[in-house]
Symmetry: C2
Subunit: 357 residues, 2 copies
């Protein structure tokens, strides 16, 4: 082994990196329902704000505001808290990493349910922490209150990805109240849900909520996310953040997106409507459909159809959905809610495949 | 102490965060010579590429290319290597952090010269590593070959900031060749210098060179930097990188900047010319001026003028330069090279202050 490779931390050398969903090249003619992007572009105010920030290019040579203060203020107004309770990050993935680096030392334990967001064990390995996957359901197939002793930080994905249900607030309260560590409620999909945990950060000073503009705001390209927690915790998180973590155009675009609350409401309405349409269509084809509080549906095809094969066949016909080889998930597909023509194309294609066409 | 604060890693709780240079609000009427930004906006091709990427906003809802492949290819052509030897980051600050997370375990030692970039000890503290500052000069005031035993990763800033000189390639060769750890040559300012270490990554597989578009390319607002190393090392660094670390607009803008090599050459010519003008002007006022291979000058005012007081007085008159309270640097000022009118305003203002006007 080369000297350079030998110097790599063993935990990194042995790990595989995170595998993001497939991103076809721009212009590819596929129906893309595999990475839970919004079916709509962002508010037109976003591009206008970015063009205005670009201006005559003069602003590009200057460092951006290192703390994204105006963006924090705008986000705080949306989240119903003070700006000092918000930090802005390069996607909520950056916030997840910052939270780990702030609270978890090497050898300590990071907990999360399995299945949930598959990035958590990767982030734990990068930190040199132990990852502890707890089963999402008990032996009777029900949610339960997990035992968190020995865990320093627990990620709760709510609504859960890839299954789509949201945890009750009282469940989250019980989780945080008896716990000496930190609970991170990863709310990437909360705008599509009926409730969220933002109000709980005022009750529990060991709770961090994370948000992203990649889903409901249609801004996956810009990489903007938030962490919401007590101002005392945000001050610590800020020490760990790269000093200029958010570029000038992303700050401007994100502010414009957050200010257009009517556009968000319309997007969420549309997604909920198409989610119901998709669910009904799948059920008509004999699929089992999990209730969803998100912009995707987890669904199991009727026997003898096998999800993995259906996924392949759909891809061959230009429709990308997500299939996980994980034994707990391999029976189903995760399908992003799209526009009506995409949903119709999907349902017709599934029907054709099931009829051997 | 609150439960949340108690859960913070002690090393984080005790540290102060990094203090970036002052960034006045856009539109402020100051002569800004304090954070080594380019005196020119970026190539006009940058804004054109960003506008084109924005298009009808449709692309904004899609995740960007997670590995920034096209950007790596463009950068590789500029750096004279293959794309597999390049990684792209959210500013070179992100690359520095990724390099640490890849190679340094908690309790291991990160070395760097003092003075150099003041972010290194902060990054070491975030990682939970020991920072070891080695004196930049020996007792005779000369450079020397440092003893690196016990050090896992060594940051060499070349050209050095804030002093401005570049290390000879043979010096870097000697550093890397006897060393079991990793040498990171931080070349943020290399485009202004007479030589650089890019060729050495092919000689030494334990060498990483970092670059940024924030200085010579006039793109501090966009946050784009690179790490250049053997493809084997880049593969490991990529595991540690946030999966979607660079937004779509930054990738497009950065590619356009890298392709306009004529614009870079003109910027570098202008900076070198104004650097000579500034140096001559300062020397005429009795200042001691260190030779510089960068877009800034480190200079010491003649007695009885005190650098810290001059810094304050300049700021009061609307001219921002950088002064470091560090005992090894407090005798001087770091002044970014600007356009001729800015250089003239600076020299005239210093002259007026020295004459008690």
């Amino acid at each position: 082994m080369s000297r350079g490779l030998q110097a790599v931390r063993p935990g990194i050398r042995e790990m595989a990196g995170y595998q993001p969903g497939r991103q076809p090249a721009p212009g590819s003619r596929v129906v893309k329902l595999n990475t839970n992007e919004s079916p709509l572009p962002p508010s037109p105010a976003v591009a206008a704000a970015i063009r205005s920030e670009l201006g005559d290019s003069e602003g590009l040579r200057r460092y951006p505001d290192p703390i994204s203060q105006k963006l924090r203020e705008t986000a705080a107004a949306v989240f119903g808290c003070e700006a000092a309770w918000v930090m802005a990050g390069n996607g909520s993935d950056e916030i997840l990493r910052i939270v780990i680096d702030t609270f978890v030392s090497e050898g300590e334990t990071i907990g999360y349910f399995h299945p949930s967001y598959s990035l958590y064990p990767v982030l734990a390995a990068i930190r040199g922490a132990r990852g502890r996957a707890l089963p999402l359901f008990n032996d009777r197939g029900e949610l339960y209150q997990p035992e968190l002793s020995g865990i320093k930080l627990f990620f709760l994905t709510s609504p859960n990805a890839p299954l789509g249900f949201a945890f009750e607030l009282d469940y989250i309260r019980r989780l945080a109240s008896g716990f000496a560590g930190i609970v991170v409620v990863d709310e990437a999909y909360a705008d599509f849900a009926e409730h969220n945990a933002l109000g709980l950060v005022k009750e529990f000073d060991n709770l961090v909520v994370t948000r992203t503009l990649s889903k409901s705001y249609g801004l996956a390209a810009l990489r903007v996310g938030f962490g919401i927690a007590s101002s005392k915790l945000v001050r610590e998180l800020d020490k760990v953040r790269d000093s200029y973590n958010l570029d000038r155009l992303a700050q401007a675009g994100a502010r414009a997106a957050l200010k257009d609350s009517a556009y968000l409401a319309r997007t969420v309405d549309l997604v909920r409507r198409e989610r119901a349409f998709l669910a009904a269509g799948l059920e008509k084809l004999g699929f089992e459909v999990r209730p969803s509080q998100t912009n995707f549906i987890f669904t199991t095809p009727p026997p003898p159809v096998r999800a993995g094969e259906l996924y392949q066949e759909l891809a061959a016909r230009g429709i990308l959905v997500r299939w996980f080889a994980d034994p707990l998930l391999a029976h189903g597909l995760r399908i992003t809610v799209g526009l009506r023509p995409e949903m119709e194309a999907l349902l017709e294609t599934i029907n054709a495949i099931m009829n051997g066409e």
